[in-house]
């Protein structure tokens, strides 16, 4: 009797433990094959020879950088134990060097150990003048990369770098194996077809067949550093076709598990998603569709001083007017009409990465026509008999320009209607994108000249660090005839406090401190209504419902965490 219970109990415990620990110790490759479709086919697996998103994503399955950016834009250690900072001594006090220490015991897919020599080799490979490296900009300012010991690499810059994470952070600059690419330096780079098509990496998968501009077959890397990962044994990375076909294959026919970059009309995507086979996920980078208010007078009567700081705008300089313009806009409706799942309402011009997203400007989501009217009434703008407000002979009549694009023209029409409801007259103008963004000195219609009362377009920045982006709205960046209309400060925003924050950020290395400064700058712009954000635009991808673990990422390769993907039960 006792023995029987004992045996039963032990058996039960064994079964319990096997289920409890099973998840953690399940074998690599248990979930079979995963199908990924990129409608732009990958042409190489070496991101140093092709900067295309498709190639970087393909390579990210086999090659890894020292650190990745996660879905929020935060750095996560990949081949190192921790991200070097000034606090942990990894970044020198004078901000001129950064020292990375590789984790111990990491091996390449061929079983040989990863060493600092590989990192040094990769840097030299890209920085070779004759090789035509496409990621050279990431190595800007680097004077030397040296191996301190087998696992330690020191990167030295030509001056202080408050954000020294250009080289080897993110999938654009992964580590190549020195042994494999030794003969591929400089002019020999293009001759290394076998290496470029089948690089040996530390990533979760290795290439088994590479068909350029077509399909790539990969198999799980048996030497991958995390036990039990990846869950998939093989990857079929197919290329070709168009966004609609890719979307259909993942959302309607179920042939593929992951379809990249579905730039489709909102109703088309919604229709595909309604088949119930897959879901549309969106990742948000820093791309924001916004209105730029002209704080200076664009009147043609001013000749050469048109839209320069010499003449403040007759009514836009009144903050009540700017605030009323913002309050009258129904942002959720704009998102629904223009972008669907590929956009969301934002009240910040710097909505991401997450740590830079200001929590202080909520409330713009709700349209408030009555509030806007009340605000203008209080400010003394009286409704005229023609339905347009005026004060001291100045009528609220606006010229609103943007580039030619179906969604933007829809936005213009809607916004004009809302503004009419608060007594503001709007004249619409659209300019061909080539001219608007072209920067031609002789054209009066460029977005820098801004010969209008306000304009609408979208902009973003490269990488995760907003320092250069926020610097755009300092006094020095105002476009004018003196600087040949160069500069990114379209609203002609000029504020000494703002410029002080910009200067402070240029000397601050701590990431949290940098975030505080960026948020302060963003709030300054938002609360003065100099820039009116409309829609935070994202990238959409289709994911089959049976695929788990996908974390869409706007800051790194979308496939950055493919090692964590698995098949749902």
């Amino acid at each position: 009797m006792t023995l029987k219970y004992l045996v039963a109990g032990t058996l039960g415990a064994a079964m319990l433990s096997s289920t409890a620990f099973g998840a953690a110790h399940e074998a690599q490759g248990r979930d079979g094959n995963v199908n990924i479709i990129f409608w732009q086919a990958a042409s190489t697996m070496n991101p140093y020879l092709s900067g295309g998103t498709k190639d970087i994503n393909a390579a990210s399955m086999a090659l890894e950088p020292l650190a990745h950016y996660d879905e929020n834009g935060a750095m996560v250690a990949t081949l190192v134990d921790e991200i070097p900072t000034v606090a942990n001594g990894g970044v020198s006090e004078d901000l001129t060097s950064i020292t990375w220490t590789l984790s111990e015991g990491i091996t390449w897919s061929d079983g040989t150990p990863l060493t600092s020599a590989d990192v040094v080799f990769t840097a030299n490979y890209c920085m070779d003048e004759t090789g035509g490296c496409q990621q050279l900009a990431k190595f800007g300012g680097v004077t030397s990369v040296e191996a301190i010991d087998d696992l330690t690499v020191k990167i030295t810059f030509d001056g202080p770098k408050p954000f020294p994470y250009g080289p080897f952070v993110g999938s654009t600059t992964p580590i190549l194996q020195a042994a494999q690419f030794a003969n591929c330096m400089g002019t020999a780079a293009p001759t290394c077809t076998d290496q470029n098509f089948g690089p040996i990496g530390t990533g979760p998968f290795t290439v088994t067949e590479f068909r350029a501009n077509d399909a790539i077959s990969l198999a799980a890397n048996p030497n991958y550093r995390v036990a039990g990962k990846p869950a998939f044994a093989t990857v079929n990375f197919k290329g070709g076709g168009d966004a609609a076909a890719a979307g259909r294959s993942a959302l309607e026919t179920g042939e593929f598990d992951y379809a990249w970059n579905l730039q489709l009309a909102p109703e088309v995507l919604a229709d595909m998603e309604s088949a119930g086979i897959g879901t549309v996920l969106t990742s948000y980078g820093p791309l924001v569709e916004r209105l730029m208010i002209n704080m200076t007078n664009p009147s043609a009567d001013l000749g050469d001083e048109r839209s320069t700081v010499a003449h403040p705008h007759p009514f836009m300089s009144d903050m009540a007017v700017r605030q009323a313009l913002s309050m009258a806009i129904d942002r959720p409706l704009l998102v629904e009409i223009g972008y669907g799942k590929a956009g969301k309402v934002t009240c910040n011009v710097l909505p991401s990465p997450a740590i830079y997203n200001s929590p202080n400007n909520a409330g713009c989501e709700v349209q408030d026509i009555a509030g806007a009217n009340a605000l203008l009434d209080a400010a003394g703008w009286e409704m005229g008999s023609d339905g347009v407000r005026a004060k001291d002979g100045v009528r609220l009549s606006i010229l609103y320009q943007t580039s030619t694009n179906a969604v933007r023209q829809d936005f213009q029409a809607l916004i004009k209607q809302w503004w009419a409801e608060i007594g503001i007259e709007t004249e619409l103008k659209n300019i061909s994108g080539g001219v608007f963004f072209g920067g031609d000195q002789s054209s009066p219609d460029t977005f820098q000249k801004l010969f209008a009362d306000l304009e609408m377009y979208a902009n973003n920045f490269d990488g995760t660090d907003p320092e250069a982006y926020m610097r755009n709205w300092s006094c020095a960046e105002i476009p004018s005839p003196e600087n040949a209309w160069l500069g990114g400060n379209m609203p002609r925003h000029c504020n000494a406090d703002y410029d002080a924050l910009v200067a402070e950020m240029g000397g601050t290395a701590d990431i949290n401190e940098r975030a505080r400064l960026a948020i302060a700058m963003n709030d300054m712009l938002m609360q003065s209504y100099t820039i009116i954000p409309l829609v935070h635009r994202g990238n959409v991808s289709g994911i089959a419902n049976t695929l788990e673990g996908v974390k869409l990422n706007a800051w790194d390769a979308e496939l950055w965490n493919i090692a964590d993907w698995s098949r749902a039960e």
Binding site: S43, E129, T191, E209, A212, D214, G241, R248, E252, E255
Partner: protein, 342 residues
């Protein structure tokens, strides 16, 4: 005939050289930049560096001579080396025509694409011909019958409705609407890495070929069936057909031996002239079904300003066109005893 063929072959050499130069010139004049598709975040000096590494700073004539040397000398030598193991000169470091986008030899890319293009586009051509010939024959024999009218209608549809419409229509019907477990369900995306090893994988290969092959076959059949019909009608009204009937031959013999054989002469040459298009791939259909054959390779090359790839592919197409023109002429001479070239 042999003299004629040899004479024509000799003439093709300067023709093709001229064509290669014209292609090179056009590509060089095209406002295309191989760094144009790179992300905007890559700065101009890096782009200049990339262009220099691709040899774009060299003068045009020099790049043309280089291409000629790579294509006409190095590539054939490399083939000799690969096929027979013969090594002439420096086998290891011979400079081959290299694609800018993939940094791999263009000829290898083309060889990699050849199987799926021949399987799908070639099969569609064969299927198209097999459909077209009987339709053309019956349509002509029963001129203005309901069969002829239906054939005319189908040919009109096949010819005028673009393949991107018929292709997507088939996908919607057989991949989207059809339940995935149905035997009639067909894959909408062609798996180029699929290998036929047994009966099951062969069936899968057939299934994934059905839609692209049928879309293209309909288009090809439309054209060829009209040729066949017209040619049959031409011959059916000839006196020798009446002679054949007067001989007391069976109607089948009259139709198949007398009329069909004579009608096939122009049709066979039309078919021969169409073969280069098979190698050229069917750009649109390949895109729709993701067959990724030679047509898609060319399109990607054009989009990415991959000049060595585009130059080599278009030149190979030119060679095929010139060759099959010759083949068509020779075939005509062989089939029609009235034509003699010497």
């Amino acid at each position: 005939m042999l003299n004629f063929t040899l004479r024509r072959l000799v003439f093709t050499v300067p023709t093709l050289l001229l064509i290669s130069f014209i292609i090179f010139l056009i590509l060089d004049l095209a406002p295309n930049d191989p760094t144009g598709n790179l992300p905007l975040t890559i700065p101009p000096e890096v782009r200049a560096n990339i262009r220099a590494s691709l040899g774009l700073d060299d003068p045009m004539y020099w790049r043309y001579i280089l291409w000629c040397q790579q294509f006409f000398v190095n590539e054939p030598l490399n083939l000799l080396n690969q096929w027979f193991g013969w090594c002439v000169g420096d086998c290891e470091n011979r400079l081959r025509v290299t694609s800018w986008a993939t940094r791999s030899p263009v000829v290898d890319l083309i060889a990699e694409r050849m199987p799926q293009t021949l399987w799908v586009v070639g099969m569609s051509y064969v299927v198209g011909i097999l459909i077209a010939l009987p339709i053309g024959v019956i349509s002509a024999y029963k001129q203005y019958s309901w069969f002829d009218q239906a054939g005319t209608f189908v040919a009109m549809i096949g010819f005028s409705v673009p393949t991107f419409f018929t292709g997507v229509l088939l996908i919607v019907i057989f991949s989207v609407w059809m339940p995935n477990d149905s035997v009639f369900w067909l894959p909408s995306i062609y798996d180029t890495t699929h290998k036929v090893t047994d009966w099951g994988s062969f069936v899968f290969q057939m299934r994934q070929m059905v839609m692209p092959v049928m879309v293209l076959a309909l288009y090809n059949a439309a054209q060829i069936s009209r040729f066949m019909r017209a040619s049959m009608l031409d011959n059916l009204s000839q006196d020798y057909v009446r002679t054949a009937r007067a001989k007391g031959l069976k109607e089948k013999t009259v139709l198949l031996v007398h009329v069909l054989r004579n009608s096939m002469i122009p049709v066979v040459t039309v078919i021969a002239l169409g073969i280069p298009q098979v190698f050229g791939g069917a750009i649109i259909t390949e895109q729709i079904f993701k067959v990724n054959g030679l047509g898609q390779l060319l399109i990607i090359g054009i989009e990415g300003a991959d000049i060595p790839l585009v130059q080599t592919l278009t030149f190979l197409f030119a060679v095929l066109i010139v060759m099959f023109n010759l083949v068509a002429d020779v075939l005509y001479g062989l089939l029609d005893p009235r034509i003699r070239y010497d």
